[in-house]
């Protein structure tokens, strides 16, 4: 059975909007981050008149790595604070990649810091590198807040190990996620020794104030956007499962009812993190894109049953309470710079494309959707796509494997043949990583500039 959820006032209103590209604030943010790092290094420079010997060099290398780690730690947490400017303007996928990258880097700095400082202290005490373990135990026992710092570092080690690719793939997602949440505890535990034993903070009250300010504002943002904002959202909209519909074998749509859902500010192409309050599902939340523009009393997600969680969606009972966080994601009409748009969907990647296909402003012939699936049976939501295409005068194309299993030809040449003006399009794309990569290369070959290929990938 399939649903048809086309038309609607909200969707029509969105199609009337003018094209107003908004630049991603990513460059500015990155500049600010670098400026902050330079500021931290300057503080060290200012507070260190001279370095006498080899031992001093080791200790100061430890101080630099420690200061940078303390600075980046706050930013790593900030990246996961679900700040709208990051989630909706930069893009959740990009921010998540920044988080993974800077998180790994910061952990390396933390471990380098511990090693260098303890090595330096051991040398100071007239011992050698081999006494580093004993030196660490002594320092943890003697110096203020070092016990806490040791606990925090231990947690960081655990978090770091659980996030190594090979380990993470073997862990259940929920376990990994909850281990990852320990980051907050680890940051809390390691914060205090920075203030009490860090030379720069102990000696300069201004630096101490700045540090409290940095960590204080990150804490405030986390509390506001990760805790209070979702509570307010869910208190206001009170969402519940209305129905679960099997679109094609293995792909289900979940219809979610609630109050004033059009007031959530969600746009086509965005997603929410969903938590279904049903047995076995309430402890994990998963990101699923809206597969239709939000209606005042209805949202819809469409999900392919790949993992445990998505397979269980099929058994959801109507009336199940839903806890949602969002909207997140920057793959929206804000990215658009051109009148003409090509949407490319691979498999269940159709969901955000379907919502954009319905709502992207454009005259007849401006919008094209290319839908790739294994077989015509796998073309989920096809009926409503056809209806939208019909109403809007948009083009709808599909590419499926031939009966003998041969893949369809999506290359620079075939794209140019189908769409001679393809280099004058904005391209929005969603699909599995391999598919996205090959289409990206084909598009670039067909003359579409990289800045006009908009893609969201949650691959790290």
């Amino acid at each position: 059975m399939t649903t048809t959820l086309a038309g609607g006032r909200a969707a029509r209103r969105q199609t009337m909007r003018r094209i107003r590209p908004r630049r991603s604030p990513a460059t500015l943010l990155l500049l600010a981050v670098w400026a902050g790092a330079v500021g931290v290094l300057w503080m060290w420079w200012h507070n260190t008149p001279s370095i006498a010997d080899q031992n001093g060099k080791i200790l100061n290398a430890g101080r630099i790595t420690g200061l940078l780690a303390g600075y980046l730690m706050a930013l790593v947490v900030l990246q996961m604070a679900r700040v709208p400017a990051l989630e909706r303007r930069v893009g959740s996928d990009r921010v998540a990649r920044w988080h993974a990258m800077s998180g790994r880097y910061t952990l390396c700095l933390v471990f380098a810091h511990v090693f260098l400082i303890m090595w330096g202290y051991a040398l100071q005490a007239g011992k050698t590198l081999s006494d580093i373990v004993q030196q660490t135990i002594d320092s943890v026992n003697q110096l203020p807040d070092m016990g806490k710092a040791a606990i925090g570092t231990g947690l960081f080690l655990l978090i770091g190990l659980s996030s190594i690719g090979a380990v993470r793939r073997r862990l259940p997602y929920d376990l990994w996620y909850h281990v990852h949440l320990l980051t907050y505890a680890a940051v809390f535990f390691t914060f205090w020794h920075q203030i009490t034993t860090g030379n720069d903070f102990a000696l300069t009250p201004i630096a101490k104030t700045v540090w409290y300010g940095l960590y204080g504002s990150v804490t405030a943002l986390v509390v506001w956007y990760r805790i209070l904002t979702p509570i307010r959202l869910n208190m206001r909209h009170r969402m519940r499962v209305e129905a679960v519909i099997e679109e094609t074998p293995g792909i289900v749509s979940v219809l979610i009812g609630g109050r004033k859902l059009h007031r959530m500010g969600a746009e086509a192409g965005q997603f929410f993190r969903w938590r279904f309050l049903a047995p076995g599902m309430r402890f994990s939340s998963h990101p699923y894109s809206l597969s239709a523009a939000p209606r005042p009393n209805m949202l819809r997600i469409t999900v392919k049953a790949i993992g445990d969680h998505s397979a269980r969606l099929r058994e959801l009972r109507p009336g199940t309470k839903v806890w949602a966080e969002g909207p997140y994601g920057a793959l929206t009409s804000q990215r658009r710079t051109r009148g003409k748009v090509l949407l490319v969907a691979g498999g269940v990647g159709i969901t955000p494309m379907r919502a954009l296909f319905e709502t992207l402003p454009g005259a007849a012939g401006d919008i094209t959707l290319l839908y790739r699936a294994n077989t015509t049976q796998d073309l989920a939501l096809w009926d409503e796509l056809a209806k939208i295409a019909d109403e809007r005068g948009a083009r709808l194309m599909y590419a499926v494997n031939s009966p003998d299993g041969e893949r369809p030809d999506i290359s620079a040449e075939s794209l140019r043949r189908k769409m001679p003006d393809i280099d004058n399009h904005d391209v929005f794309m969603c699909g599995p990583p391999g598919f996205a990569q090959s289409v990206y290369e084909a598009l670039r070959g067909a003359g579409v500039p990289a800045r006009r290929i908009h893609h969201e990938s949650f691959e790290m």
């Binding site: 260190t48 008149p49 006498a52 100061n60 290398a61 390396c108 011992k127 030196q135 002594d138 003697q142």
Partner: protein
Amino acid sequence: MKKSHPIRRVLLASAATVSGIVLLLSLKPATDSTSASAQGAAAQGAAAAQESPQGGAAAAGTSTVTGAVAQTQYGVVQVRLTVANGKITKAEAIQAPKGGTSDQKTALSVPKLNQEVVATQSADITSVTGATYTSGGYKQSLQSAIDKMKAAGANTASPSQSSAAGSGQAAQAKTVTGDVVTTEYGPVQVRITVAGGKITKADAVQAPSGGTSDQKTALSIPKLNQEAVAAGNANIDSVSGASYTSGGYKKSLQSALDKAGG
């Protein structure tokens, strides 16, 4: 979509970080260029200290010395010592953490600490288990009280001993103040009392202060003083965690010994 090889990214990040840190470290001079002015100021301070009138507590009489207030996580600690003939006869905490479980901990720890001070005559006492913060604060305040006590004692001791030397005693006692040595965290200056060619007493008239330096000074100077008296020369061990202060101490001590010898 631009794929950059993860290994290459890791290598690049590591190389950039390591070379950045090495560059920063190598740009720092080995000695402090501002030390000249600091040294001048320090020398003046030292001279002033030597010339100061000897109106401190009488060495033979009984006096009380109150240490600095030490801030701990659970409240302030302040120690008062009663000193008679250069010996601590009584130690008490005039301020200690109160409220909640702190009352118990204070009741448990402070009497023990007081006893230990009288027994050891130094700040080198062991912390009471379960009351580490209070013990730490107690030690900090105690150290400052002991420093004050010694300063007062030294001021009165030196003239009397030099007058004793004038009266022709075999054991000539004199105090010699070493050069000011500037370390990364501040100047260090050592004063020794020499009698019969032996160091009978060593103390630091200047030592790094402020921030963590206070802790480090409190931790290291008493040990160094003891070591100097025990060793009788400048060949003493550095204190772990305070190598700069130790290094400065040794240099100043050596210069004091040189002066005493010449």
